[in-house]
């Protein structure tokens, strides 16, 4: 196990951080830590880095105790903090030089390569950077010493789409190079895209750990089909996994659990003008795993 938490609990005074968190991240996987803002993702990460100490339970990173062996962990881990703050008066390069020196030196050929991939201008002062440009420095400093484990808290926040693609490629390469990646996010498609497994956290508690295919098969998807004529609602109502069918004129809306295959095959027997499938959002995923609470909402 690269990351292992055992009944990890953290309270800030009376405020909840995380409760009884049991997490296991395997060597060489990309693990997504998914949850809405304030769910406890950053709390977990900050315990792993020994910035804060558990109220009870404990955490192990790379087989080492998160508190007792913190320095050895810091040596072998690269972290992108959730609320990234850099020294505004330094240039990007000076910032990276400083952090690199504190790590005993890094391979500058590799740093320049990372900067080029992320299209990061290291020569300007950080106070003149956009949030996206700051995020790039945060990513470079996490990757630059080729750590065994990368802990990335909301890594794509502020990045424009092209740079996000490049980041996904970097994650893939890191995985191929044998590095383990622990990535927190509140965006399901992002996690689906790069992760092997995902742990879902909500209100401080780990709800479930699933593989991506399992999540997808359970995820609710909102679908809208526009027909060239009246919508044949009754044909869809009896399909397994299809719910909440409503039809008005040629527009048919429904919610589908799992694959769209059956729905598409039925629809294909008619003339389809348009088909809109929304990516399942986090709330929909929670509805799947918390049907009970979903019913409350209704």
């Amino acid at each position: 196990m690269i990351i292992e938490t055992n009944k990890l609990t953290k309270y800030y005074g009376k405020a909840r951080g995380v409760i009884d968190l049991n997490l296991g991240v395997e060597q060489g996987e990309v693990f997504g830590f998914l949850g809405p803002n304030g769910a406890g993702k950053s709390t977990t990460i900050r315990v792993l880095m020994d910035f804060i100490r558990p109220t009870s339970g404990h955490a192990r990173v790379l087989g080492l105790d998160s508190h007792r062996d913190a320095l050895e962990i810091h040596r072998r881990v690269g972290i992108l903090p959730g609320e990234l703050a850099l020294y505004p008066k330094l240039t990007g390069r000076q910032m990276l030089e400083y952090l690199g020196e504190l790590r005993g030196g890094v391979d500058w050929g590799y740093v320049d390569q990372l900067a080029e991939r992320l299209d990061s201008d290291l020569s300007r002062q950080i106070k003149n950077y956009s949030s996206g440009n700051k995020q790039k420095i945060g990513l470079i400093q996490a990757f630059m010493h080729r750590p065994e484990l990368l802990i990335l808290d909301e890594p794509t926040s502020g990045l424009d789409p092209l740079i996000q693609q490049e980041f996904y490629a970097m994650v893939k390469e890191a995985k191929e190079a044998g590095q383990t990646i622990f990535l927190s996010s509140h965006i399901l498609p992002e996690v689906e895209r790069v992760c092997d497994r995902v742990g879902i956290i909500r209100e401080g508690r780990l709800v479930t750990v699933e593989t991506i295919p399992a999540i997808k098969s359970k995820a609710l998807r909102h679908l809208e089909i526009v027909f060239d004529g009246p919508a044949p609602a009754h044909e869809f109502e009896r399909l397994p996994g299809v719910r909440d069918v409503t039809a008005r004129n040629g527009h048919l809306r429904c919610t589908v659990v799992g694959t769209l295959d059956d729905v598409v095959k039925v629809a294909a027997q008619h003339t389809v003008v348009n088909l809109i499938s929304e990516e399942p959002n986090l709330e929909d995923v929670f509805l799947t795993f918390y049907g009970r609470e979903g019913n409350h909402a209704q």
Binding site: Y12, R46, F51, I52, L71, I79, E83, Y98, L102
Partner: protein, 268 residues
């Protein structure tokens, strides 16, 4: 240039160091040029001082000798005016050693490197010591140059250097106190700054009012200024025991900061 926390901290201080150094150099140069005009009337002044009630003389630091440049600087510069200027930056830097980076959020990245927390504090405090010593030396230089400018011939340069360096322990003590308060809990920079400056002021009052208001000795001994006593320097010289005590307390406070900071949550 910025290959460790110590050098990075000094690098960040470079502008402040330049302006504090230049400012205090010029102030000291200007300050000492007042001495000759003071000396002309020093006989009268001294008579007046000698006629004053003992309690007023005590407030001015005990036996006062305005007939020498050493006595003049002890009374006018070392008693509290210069220490207060030094405390202004030293306490604010002391409170910022942990407090600034914690407030700005940069502490996470710094502590994510394999540099132990205790070393971060020690290196930053070391930078503050270097900063303070350099500022003290510019003060000394200001007095030396000023003495040349004002044709003061009988100045004891070694005494002046001692008097200037004598301000180091009390300055570091209050800086370490501010550091210690920020090491205890998160986000307390402003509070630590205020509490430390408040304590410095109150303890100075206790010390300076002691002679005339029957403040008990045990209370006087609680005041750090009791062990500094810059106004009395020309008469009494540096008290090695008192200096060692202030430095010892500084070491204790820094040590306590390392201990407390190691144990607490960061940035909560």
């Amino acid at each position: 240039m910025r290959s460790n926390v110590f050098l990075k901290t000094l690098y960040d201080m470079r502008r402040a160091l330049f302006w504090w150094g230049l400012g205090l150099f010029l102030l000291s140069l200007y300050y000492i040029t007042f001495y000759p005009s003071m000396q002309e009337s020093s006989a009268d002044l001294q008579q007046m001082l000698d006629r004053m009630p003992e309690s007023i003389r005590a407030l001015m630091g005990g036996e006062v000798d305005l007939t020498s440049v050493e006595g003049f600087l002890s009374l006018e510069a070392f008693s509290f005016f210069y220490p207060i200027l030094l405390l202004a930056f030293a306490v604010s830097y002391g409170a910022g050693i942990i407090g600034s980076e914690e407030e700005n959020g940069t502490l996470d990245l710094l502590l994510a490197t394999p540099v132990p927390r205790w070393r971060v504090i020690l290196e930053k405090f070391g930078a503050l010591v270097v900063f303070t010593v350099i500022v003290l030396l510019t003060i000394y230089l200001g007095f030396l140059v000023g003495a040349q400018v004002a044709d003061i011939e009988d100045m004891d340069n070694v005494f002046i250097l001692e008097g200037v360096l004598n301000m180091l322990p009390i300055t570091l003590f209050f800086a370490a106190l501010a550091l210690f308060l920020t090491a205890l809990r998160s986000g307390g920079r402003g509070l630590a700054l205020g509490v430390t400056l408040g304590l410095a002021a109150i303890s100075y009052l206790i010390f300076s009012m002691a002679e005339i208001s029957n403040i008990p000795l045990w209370l006087r001994r609680l005041s750090p200024w009791h062990y500094y006593n810059g106004a009395n320097l020309a008469q009494a010289g540096i008290n090695a025991g008192h200096t060692a005590l202030l430095l010892g307390l500084t070491v204790l406070l820094v040590g306590g900061s390392l201990w407390a900071f190691q144990r607490r949550d960061v940035g909560v």
